[in-house]
């Protein structure tokens, strides 16, 4: 924030009240977040108003995976990501993701950010440090340095004092990535991060994604560009309201699987009866 917050106002106790993470060590130094947990989905059914968007998904994402989720529109990709982020309670089944709210950083497809709000790029990106500084902690010199480093990393050096409303679509996505990387989460969820983004920006941001992977973080991204998936993502999940295939990208994105995915998605029925495969049918 541009306005200095009140000095360490009973910081620790306030943070315990209002932050979802435990108190962090040494402010300034990047905090040691735990290693990426493995994510296990057990017979997961997700949807809205009892209509499932995804049926009976069983999946284990090992720690450090760089996973692309691919499928036709309406296949339930965004829904799955929302559930992983803890924003959508499942209709059935379980998401095993230890300490979800703490370990996950989520980049929704549609930014809810009001770009007319008079705030600078620096302040926007600095919000990535929320888990460390909370509502009251100061953005000191060390923190400001990390914010600037994050901006450099996404190619936005020199944009610190620009208001967010003056950014182009690509620059804005770069700023969102900078904030995301400051969140320093072991698990990152990206919902169509490169849609409507030009190739150069996509390349730069893909490099950031690969860096996250090299750090040992788990990255799950919903993508549409199959070439991109083949080139950069070792693992792939193909879904069309049900899992079609999961595993090594080359073995998943076969012509036969893609045809199957297209077909399943077209078979959508608005007047579906109650699903009987569900071990715990909802009333």
């Amino acid at each position: 924030m541009s306005t200095p917050p009140p000095p360490a106002l009973a910081r620790a106790s306030w943070r315990r009240l209002f932050s979802r993470s435990p108190a962090h060590p040494a402010p300034g130094a990047p905090p040691a977040r735990g290693p990426a947990p493995s994510i296990r989905l057990e017979n997961l059914t997700l949807g809205y108003d009892r209509h499932p968007a995804i049926h009976h998904l069983n999946l284990t994402i090992p720690p450090g995976e760089l996973l692309a989720i691919v499928g036709p529109n309406g296949a339930g990709k965004s829904t799955l990501l929302k559930a992983l982020a803890g924003e959508l309670p499942p209709l059935g089944g379980v998401v095993h993701l230890p300490g979800a709210a703490d370990t996950v950083a989520y980049l929704p497809q549609q930014s809810e950010i009001d770009i007319d709000f008079p705030i600078t790029v620096f302040d926007l990106v600095a919000l990535g440090l929320w888990r460390e500084v909370g509502a009251f902690g100061a953005i000191g010199r060390a923190e400001a340095e990390r914010v600037r480093a994050a901006l450099v990393r996404v190619g936005l050096a020199g944009f610190e004092q620009r208001t967010i409303g003056s950014l182009s679509g690509g620059q804005f996505q770069r700023a969102r990535f900078a904030r995301l990387s400051l969140q320093d989460a072991p698990v990152l969820l990206l919902d169509e991060p490169f849609t409507a983004i030009d190739s150069r920006t996509t390349e730069d941001l893909l490099r950031v994604v690969v860096d996250w992977h090299c750090d040992g973080r788990t990255v799950v991204a919903v993508l549409h560009d199959l070439e991109q998936v083949r080139r950069h993502f070792p693992a792939c999940l193909l879904i069309a309201r049900e899992p079609i295939a999961y595993g090594e990208t080359a073995s998943v994105l076969t012509r036969e699987n893609l045809r199957l995915a297209r077909h399943s998605s077209e078979a959508f029925d608005d007047h579906a009866s109650v699903c009987h495969r569900d071990p715990e049918p909802r009333p």
Partner: protein, 292 residues
């Protein structure tokens, strides 16, 4: 000449205690209510302030009917009615298909109708005028303390909540993701809106209390881009409006409340025409573009 200026601009305040009180009231309002107005504006809730100001009417009327022209009763009544409407509207918006604006409109209209009904059942028209238009020139010690107290509370709470409040304003989803602040600042802010409307209603009446919140905030937004200057400039404009409005009211013998709001309106129109975000500079500067 200088004596004339003194006589016009300062003497009313040095000679008359009620003018000094009115000025102090305006200062408190511009420090408390106007920053709230800035955030209402930035959250695109300007009209929500208007709706809430109508919602507090039945509470104030009930207080008046039960205890007469009692400051405490009308204040408590107004606050309770405002909070009730805000809470009900929020609940309905979260648990039904109606959005917040629709449910708020429904409740505030019901509340307003109830208020007018209550006032006209027992009161005379003069009382209704007092509730609707306030009386900044007749602020007693109690009212002044109340207004100043609410302004102090507002500044204090806003200082504490500033960062979460800003994030709630422009990226609510993110705030919900990283902390539990979102509902705290949402309802905390609503409480502050209600409190400041009640405080403004003692000075300017329910109808015009919103004016001192929104008009300076809108005028300042046209001049500046950053949040800090926006808050400062809005408060300054609000206070100058209050000062000029009181002088006009004194010299021209017109009611003070409308005079204050009309001066604020003049600032708004001036900003609309001359400010960087207004009409003229956009036409003039827009012709030639820069290299990059």
């Amino acid at each position: 000449m200088s004596l004339d200026l003194f006589a016009i601009a300062a003497q009313p305040f040095t000679d008359f205690g009620f003018m000094r009180r009115a000025l102090a009231g305006c200062l408190a309002l511009s420090l408390g209510a106007t920053p709230i107005g800035v955030f209402l504006l930035l959250r695109r809730m300007s009209l929500m302030g208007d709706a809430m100001s109508h919602a507090i009417l039945p509470g104030a009327a009930l207080g008046y009917l039960a205890f007469g022209l009692s400051l405490g009763a009308m204040t408590v009544g107004g606050i309770l009615a405002g909070l009730l409407v805000a809470l009900l509207a929020g609940l309905v918006a979260r648990s039904s298909v109606l959005k917040e604006d629709a449910s708020l409109a429904a409740f505030y209209l019901l509340s307003l109708a109830t208020g007018v009904m209550l006032v006209s059942l027992k009161g005379r028209n003069l009382d209704l005028l007092h509730v609707l238009f306030g009386s900044v020139l007749a602020l007693d010690d109690g009212s002044l303390l109340l207004i100043a107290g609410i302004a102090s509370l507002t500044l204090g709470l806003m200082a504490v909540m500033l960062r979460p409040l800003v994030v709630e304003c422009f990226d609510r989803g993110y705030l919900r993701g990283v902390s539990r602040w979102s509902p705290v600042v949402h309802y905390g802010f609503l409480v502050l809106v209600v409190l400041n409307l009640v405080s403004g209603f003692h000075a300017l009446g329910t109808l015009m209390a919103v004016g001192i919140m929104i008009l300076p905030a809108a005028a300042a937004r046209l001049w500046v881009r950053r949040l800090g200057p926006h808050l400062g400039l809005a408060s300054a404009l609000a206070f100058v409006s209050g000062y000029c409005g009181l002088l006009i009211s004194f010299h021209a013998d017109v009611p003070a409340g409308p005079a204050i709001i009309l001066v604020a309106g003049l600032f708004y129109f001036a900003a609309l025409i001359f400010a960087p975000g207004g009409l003229l500079p956009r036409r003039l500067v827009g012709r030639s573009h820069l290299e990059s």
